[in-house]
Symmetry: C2
Subunit: 406 residues, 2 copies
């Protein structure tokens, strides 16, 4: 029996949250670029931030702010990353948090901020403030309000990304829902994106953090678009406690159920991000199995997912297993080309020195036409395995990133 139920929804699906997305002309005209998520009262909160040593001002601000363990509001904007903006950037981040707090009549220390967009430009505080004020007035609890947040944080994303799941814990229905934005600078170890997740589970801050770290390791940390790692990326998780379940304060069945629901939301968002990778035409899962160690499996899968030569071959619909194996070879993982096998959606392309013949190449050609497939490398050296979600490298990737300007 599947305990976790996936439903439609986003940051307004769980009880206890309001949200809004409005346009403030931060960079783009005629679209939403400011989002506000507000809990009815200060909540246990957890967040994970970029590991990039050049961290944006909002990340520096939030790292300090979240130490209190409770959050009531998150203000987010697209169009400007507020990164590499020095002391001024930090002041701007703090000022926008203060303004939100004033507008909502809440404690400023319960407000977080998130930014995404161009690096090195000062945050247009006036416009952001005007946007935040209008967002505060527009707050609501409907699915449309949640979707407005998903849309306001988009940059080069082509579609908005939401996911939601429910699970029954101790007889009470618990909901976990959220949204995320990609789509360039995507690389494992988080450091990758903005994600906003809310839940009505009653759970202690410590267990909330533990659940988030576990879920991220199975989802966003398994995602590669181009191997670049951003200065801004952050995943936030707020828990209102309104589901009425007994508070989860330690490991056990309740925690496991919550963790599964959260993981299913995070995995869905991560997959949506890979599919919407900049210029992507294909969603590819790279799995390395039979590795000598977990570290080897992860290293090898990541090297394949990041290889420009492998990624362009997928775009070209070419089952070029040689580039896949070459990437495994330089990843640092143990590999013997006398033992290794490479499959595309279960069709073998190379096995222990044997190369696909004409009939097999025809089968492979069919796989390569698909919008989604799995590349599997079986190293036959051990029992460890690892999977990475990624996409191909297309002409549009270059178009998008040659034109997206400083």
């Amino acid at each position: 029996m599947q305990k976790v139920k996936r439903i439609k929804g986003g940051v307004c699906s769980a009880k206890g949250f309001r949200a809004a997305g409005v346009g403030a002309a931060i960079k783009y005209e005629g679209r939403n670029d400011v989002a506000l998520i507000v809990a009815d009262s200060p909540c246990p909160a957890a967040a994970v931030f970029t590991t990039n040593k050049v961290a944006a001002a909002p990340v520096v601000y939030d790292r300090a702010a979240i130490k209190g363990g409770r959050v009531q509001a998150i203000l987010a904007n697209s169009g400007c990353a507020n990164a590499c903006t020095g002391e001024q950037g930090l002041k701007d981040a703090g000022l926008s948090a203060l303004i939100v707090a004033g507008e909502l009549g809440i404690d400023p220390k319960h407000v977080l901020v998130a930014s995404t967009g161009v690096i090195g430009r000062r945050l247009p505080v006036d416009r952001l403030t005007a946007g935040a004020k209008r967002a505060a007035k527009a707050l609501g609890r409907t699915a449309a309000h949640g979707l407005a947040v998903a849309k306001a944080v988009m940059t080069t994303d082509t579609v908005s990304k939401e996911a939601c799941a429910t699970v029954v814990i101790g007889g009470k229905k618990v909901t976990v829902g959220g949204c995320a934005k990609g789509s360039g600078m995507i690389e494992p170890n988080m450091a990758t994106m903005l994600g906003f997740i809310t839940t009505d589970a009653a759970i202690s801050p410590a267990m909330l953090r533990r659940a988030l770290l576990l879920a991220i390791n199975k989802s966003f940390n398994r995602l590669v678009v181009d191997g670049d790692e951003s200065t801004n990326d952050s995943v936030f998780l707020l828990a209102s406690g309104r589901a009425g379940n007994d508070e989860i304060t330690r490991g056990g069945e309740g925690f496991d159920l919550f963790r599964e629901a959260l993981e299913s939301v995070c995995v869905s968002l991560a997959r949506q991000m890979a599919k919407d990778g900049e210029g992507a035409t294909k969603f590819v899962t790279v799995t390395v199995k039979g590795a000598k160690s977990d570290a080897d499996a992860a290293r090898a899968a990541r090297a394949v997912a990041k290889s420009p030569l492998a990624k362009t071959s997928w775009f070209g619909r070419d089952p070029n297993w040689g580039r896949v194996l070459a990437a495994v070879g330089y990843s640092g993982a143990e590999v013997s080309d006398m033992k290794a096998e490479v499959f595309y959606d279960g069709e073998w392309a190379f096995r222990r020195g044997e190369v696909a013949d004409e009939a097999q190449l025809n089968r492979l050609a069919k796989v390569m036409q698909k919008d989604e497939f799995e590349v599997t490398v079986d190293l036959h050296l051990g029992k460890a395995s690892s999977s990475i979600y990624t996409c191909d490298f297309s002409l549009d990737y270059v178009h998008i990133n040659a034109d997206y300007t400083t």
Copy 2:
């Protein structure tokens, strides 16, 4: 006074070598794809090979063969890499060496082989043998013979690459000349390309090896095209001793002069390879200085040179220093965006929190139009520095690699 003189030339410039390039229809019709370089007698030789754990059959073969320290001939082919071809690939490599030895009447243990091209296809030994026989008959000592080798080893290269230098050692003119092929799967730590270098210096095998390792660290190991590392790449250096200098058997002035000449040839070839990187429209030198350690400087420069986002910004003529600094940030190197500066050909784009104004952006726009420029990051944290040669990431890179088929 410049002691090393750069002249035109290639593998036939040094005394004691003959060469030929012929067409054998290994993959392409109507072009040369088999090359042969032959010394008048067995020579001290050194070689450096890919660090990829999936090493091609010719690399495995040569690693064993060169242990004797002397080489008389190298057979090279393009169109087929003879990689991931199992035991059969090793037999094919050995067989082609045997055939060359028979044709030339020399000891088979003095013959090396090199292949480049598609991975996972068996070497077409019949055609290669026919080519080798014709090449043996076509051997000559002219510049045209050297150029024929440079042309026969090309794959997606758009131009042939040769370099030559002379230096006077103990009153005798010593010549070092060679050729190389790029141009995808180029990444530091060798593992990158085929290079063939000959010299008439009299030098012991041990000192020859030492000179080659030093030169490679200043040239081919500073080269990034796409960050992929090939299974086949090799640099060969043969020394005929015909210049008549006293044999170089230890460090000192003679060794230093030889090393400088060799380094100038290797640097020239490496720069030519970066310029001819697949689809490249710009040659870019990435320099990181003011780093806390040599390792930090190298890590940071490499991360920038490999970053798809930085590379596409160069193609788009965008001084997007934010992507440069973000790459430094995830490289693992120590960095503070409050201290760092980013320059394009000496024009600052970002300095310690300050961003280029309109006038400065105009100056930067001029730099970005150039075919060659240097991106410099000054971390202001220490004294270490490192440079990497690389190129931009263009629409043509994707075209070439989506179409180049297994």
